[in-house]
């Protein structure tokens, strides 16, 4: 190695007490929708995308925490919010115990030296018109840490050496187009470490790379972590790399953490039905394995209007009374699963269901024109007895014939929160004694009498 470099060798002298390096408390990042011109003129509520919707976690110095989720889980927005590339709507972001969520752009700038980010696409993260010396040295200039060209060159050379882009002289003047994908990602990492950060937020750093290269970049990240006392927030959809790299993982779904805990425990003993499903679905190069068949139906729902109660309940095979059953679940059941896919007719006697598209705990199913509500009652009970395993039916509190159709009322949903469960924390009513008790009582009070028979 070259002469000791003050920016790179800062180490963990700053705080050795128990304060986490990073703590996020009930963080929300919502993106308002623009709405139509009329809505804006009238000042109406247009809703928002709840990308991150109440996330809390701690990251200790030297730890690697994985944020794992599918697209739309909010993992990337969460990472960007911590770096203030997106504005938090509410909640706090504590760095060494000090809240930075409300800081102005100017006051936040010093923290950018301490928190750096590695993005997914190495091809898009480097300016094609800058050679590596300019690109990697750029942060030094922005933060006023190197005044002379020689100082910049020396720091860049040292960073390049650390990431393995040697001989350094060869690489200083190379442009991104001269580099392979893996080399570009090394250059991006060099740029991220040149300011001597404490925390690196790595957003899918290897997912664009070929398999034979991924391991090399992960290995580099582990080396750098030891050499430079780094702490990582590793954002990924890939459970396999998360399992390998992380000390702890947090599984995210639709803007929230649904399960968090030590990596070994989460992978050996997943608790949340979503975690269980994810782990079963990961393709494995083991010829003994076959395509999993019982994959949860559907896809990640819209974050503008998430499902009531637990966001995963419409897809969850184990959902029950209080998980948040609502009008949209009933609409989906009647329109797609009950009718048979090869017809665009609704189940017999059932009228227009478009009003069930608004989330609500009660729904009225109108009869088709010229039909009687009693036909709706009949159809519903036929569907119900044909689909006894459908968890939605546990959520029905009562169904009764009204003048305008059949009124379906669902049990009151409970919003799951992260509760400790052994060594992990999980947000699922299956592990919440109070929710289970409420569900038991709800099931008992389900109005059997007016249920169509």
């Amino acid at each position: 190695m070259s002469s000791p470099d003050t920016t790179l060798e800062r180490g963990a002298a700053a705080s050795r007490d128990d304060t986490p390096l990073l703590e996020v408390r009930d963080l929300k990042t919502h993106f308002p929708l623009r709405g139509t011109f009329l809505q804006r003129v009238l000042g109406r509520e247009t809703g928002s995308v709840k990308a991150v919707d109440g996330v809390s976690f701690e990251l200790r110095r030297g730890e690697v925490l994985g944020l794992v989720g599918e697209s739309g889980s909010g993992k990337t927005t969460l990472g960007r919010t911590i770096l203030r590339l997106a504005d938090p709507t509410s909640g706090s972001i504590l760095v060494d115990g000090g809240d930075v969520a409300g800081l102005s752009e100017h006051d936040f700038r010093p923290y950018r030296r301490r928190i750096q980010m590695v993005f997914q696409d190495p091809h898009a993260s480097l300016n094609p018109a800058m050679d590596l010396l300019t690109a990697i040295g750029h942060p030094l200039k922005i933060h006023g840490l190197a005044t002379t060209q020689d100082a910049v060159r020396e720091a860049v050379a040292s960073a390049l050496e650390r990431v393995g882009l040697t001989p350094v002289e060869l690489f200083l003047r190379k442009y991104p187009s001269d580099l392979s994908g893996g080399q570009k990602q090394r250059a991006v990492i060099a740029r991220a470490i040149i300011l001597g950060p404490d925390l690196l937020i790595a957003d899918e750093p290897v997912s664009m790379l070929d398999m034979s290269v991924r391991a090399k970049i992960l290995e580099l990240m582990l080396e750098l972590k030891d050499e430079l006392d780094l702490t990582y927030l590793y954002i990924t959809h890939d459970l396999a790399t998360a399992k390998f790299l992380c000390d702890r993982v947090a599984i995210m779904y639709l803007g929230r953490i649904v399960e968090v805990g030590p990596t070994a425990e989460i992978f050996a003993n997943p608790r949340h039905p979503y975690t269980v499903a994810l782990l079963r679905a990961v393709p494995d190069p083991d010829p003994e394995r076959h395509v999993p068949r019982d994959v949860p139906r559907g896809e990640v729902p819209d974050a503008v209007s998430p499902p009531l109660g637990c966001s995963f309940h419409p897809r969850c095979p184990r959902a029950f009374e209080v998980c948040g059953w609502e009008s949209r679940d009933l609409k989906e059941l009647l329109e797609t699963r009950a009718a048979g896919l090869d017809t665009d007719a609704r189940p017999s006697g059932i009228g227009d269901l478009s009003r069930l598209g608004e989330p609500s705990r009660s729904a009225i199913i109108p009869p088709e024109r010229g039909h009687d509500p009693s036909e709706v009652v009949e159809t519903l009970s036929r569907i119900r007895s044909a689909t006894p395993e459908e968890p939605l039916w546990t959520g029905v509190r009562r169904m009764r014939a009204l003048a305008e159709g059949v009124g379906v009322e669902f049990h009151e949903p409970i919003d799951p929160t992260l509760l400790p469960e052994g060594p992990v924390a999980v947000a699922c009513h299956l592990y919440d004694a109070r929710a289970l008790e409420t569900a038991r009582r709800a099931a008992a009070e389900s109005d059997e009498i007016s249920e169509p028979r």
């Binding site: 992960l218 679905a281 395509v291 665009d344």
Partner: protein, 343 residues
């Protein structure tokens, strides 16, 4: 697969691209067969030529590409067929499913119109009612309800769009489907849904499927056979199970080792990077990175060998001994591969 019809036979297929730096042999002397009801996984890293091969079969290559060899579809050679003839075959004979379902549907056309266009182009005699029932049947097979038949692409999620693409390919009842990374842009759970749909395909329709992918996990779970490509060459081919359990080519073995799966306990990788195809290494293209390389590997082209039960491999480790010059089996002294040359 004995006794089943051989639907597609690729024989010594070569595809060259012209580039500023000279011709690139993207696909170099590749041969394989696909039988009815069989799924062949074509795997390799980016730039190995697997997508070019998939497109080459369909004649969907850009201007300035040269193709040699044969692509026999039920006995007819597709290479060199007039564009019009080939176009008429694409769809009803050989279907294609692309990556990125987001960009493959026309945003201004209803789903119903996509189906009508595909069916009318190839089967002009169909009545409106037949077009409709065929389309709805294909969609239902993919789990898309008929109630959504007249909606526009933007009203569907990514996974549903990919199902629509598959339904669009299947509505013409092709004998062979070429699927190029059909699940790469999708989430894990949706990927699993699509893979189980593709698995049903061959069970229900006896369709032959060429699945082009970089994901070895997908191949292990859903393919009958696997073909491994490296730098334009098909280096190993055989029953997926056998190849995964007992890879014959060092590249296959090292690639399998470098996969990070849930069972990974240590990081493995292949030193070096795939070669620049304008100037590939002489003889075996993997020899500069191969841990088992011998003298002969750097001087003489390997000859295809049949090994174990049913595996084909392009590697001198499997002989033939009679073709290896004296001293050829001595280990090759390799120059140290600097990180700088790595990918």
């Amino acid at each position: 697969m004995n006794g089943r019809e051989r639907v597609l036979s690729v024989r010594r297929l070569r595809v060259w691209y012209g580039t500023d730096r000279g011709p690139v042999r993207a696909v170099d002397d590749v041969s394989f067969d696909i039988h009815q009801g069989e799924t062949l996984g074509l795997v390799g890293e980016s730039g190995c030529g697997k997508s070019t091969l998939g497109r080459g079969i369909l004649g969907l290559l850009p201007e300035g590409t040269a193709t040699g060899g044969e692509v026999l579809f039920r006995g007819t050679d597709l290479v060199g067929l007039p564009r019009r003839t080939l176009r008429a075959m694409r769809g009803p004979e050989i279907g294609m499913i692309f990556q990125e379902p987001m960009t493959r549907l026309d945003p201004l056309m209803r789903i119903s119109e996509h189906f009508a266009e595909a069916l009318r182009t190839h089967e002009p005699d169909l009545s409106d009612a037949e077009v409709r029932s065929r389309s709805i049947e294909a969609l239902a097979g993919m789990g898309i309800p008929a109630t959504r038949f007249r909606q526009y692409p933007h009203e569907f999620s990514g996974g549903m769009r990919q199902r629509i693409m598959i339904a669009l390919a299947l509505v013409l009842r092709p004998k062979v489907v070429i699927a190029d990374e059909p699940t790469t842009a999708l989430d894990v759970l949706v990927e699993a849904q699509i893979l189980s749909i593709l698995a049903d395909l061959k069970a229900n329709f006896d369709t032959a499927l060429l699945l082009v992918t970089h994901n070895l996990g997908i191949v292990a779970e859903s393919c009958d056979r696997v073909a491994v490509m490296y730098a334009g060459k098909l280096v190993e081919e055989g029953p997926a199970r056998d190849v995964f359990v007992r890879p014959a080519h060092p590249y296959t073995r090292e690639l399998l080792r470098s996969v990070i799966s849930l069972r990974t306990t240590g990081l493995q990788y292949i030193p070096g990077a795939p070669p620049d195809l304008t100037d590939p290494p002489p003889a075996c293209r993997f020899h500069p990175r191969c841990p088992d390389a011998m003298q002969v590997c750097a001087t003489k082209w390997p000859i295809e060998q049949r090994v174990y039960d049913d595996q084909r491999v392009l590697c001198w480790l499997h002989g033939p001994a009679s073709e290896i010059p004296p001293g050829g089996t001595e280990p090759l002294v390799r120059e140290e591969i600097a990180v700088a040359e790595e990918a």
